[in-house]
Amino acid sequence: MPPKADIRNEVRRLRFEHGQMTQQQLAERIGCTRQTVIMLEQGRYVPSLALALRIAHAFGTTVEAVFTLEAD
């Protein structure tokens, strides 16, 4: 069994790079609550593949550019 992986994300940085997008704006764009965006940014929630794809799509990038394994 592979070791438990921590997943780091660049959501906060990407949000600021995309016109200082607010957490609420991002939440509305990707179809989740603002609390989920906050938890994502704090690394306290790992999204489903579908939500990860929607986040990447909202920033016009790939999932790998947004999410990386802590070990990488």
């Binding site: 939440a27 509305e28 989740c32 609550t33 603002r34 609390q35 989920t36 306290r44 929630y45």
Partner: protein, 152 residues
């Protein structure tokens, strides 16, 4: 999130909190009536039995309305209930079994201690045990939602 700002509550969190308050109040009211009139009033006084049953049915109806509201919010286009809320909702039942076991143990110890001499437990206690387990299930699952948000 700016420093000092509190984590915004989700719709599920708010609804669960209000429903828990409402059902907690109704359950406490029903319990207070039974304690005031005595458990034997369940059989001997129709008014007490009907009043308590109605209060508990209203509480169960509130629980049903809560689930229907969450279902409706989940299907809403604006993602008022999202995937994380659903994960939390699924986790909320973890403590229900334990809470029911505790209530059963309390009933068992209390009834054995009270009726050990005669060996005969009045049958109205069966109804009270049933209702207490139903309400424990409801309250524990709502409290479980709020606790799951704290842990998540």
């Amino acid at each position: 999130m700016p420093p000092g700002e509190e984590l915004p509550a989700t719709h599920l969190q708010r609804y669960a909190g209000w429903t828990l308050l409402e059902i907690g109040f109704l359950t406490a009211l029903a319990a207070a009536i039974i304690v005031f009139f005595g458990p034997e009033a369940w059989w001997s006084q129709d008014g007490v039995r009907i009043t308590v049953t109605l209060i508990l049915l209203v509480a169960l109806a509130s629980y049903l309305v809560f689930y229907m509201a969450i279902r409706k919010l989940r299907d809403h286009d604006d993602a008022l209930v999202d995937e994380r809320d659903l994960v939390i909702l699924n986790r909320s039942g973890v403590g229900v079994g334990g809470a029911m076991m505790v209530v059963m143990a309390v009933w068992m110890i209390a009834l054995v201690e009270a009726y050990n001499d005669t060996g005969m437990v009045p049958s109205y206690y069966l109804y009270l045990v049933f209702w207490s387990l139903v309400m424990t299930n409801v309250i524990a699952s709502l409290a479980g939602i709020l606790m799951a948000y704290r842990r998540a």
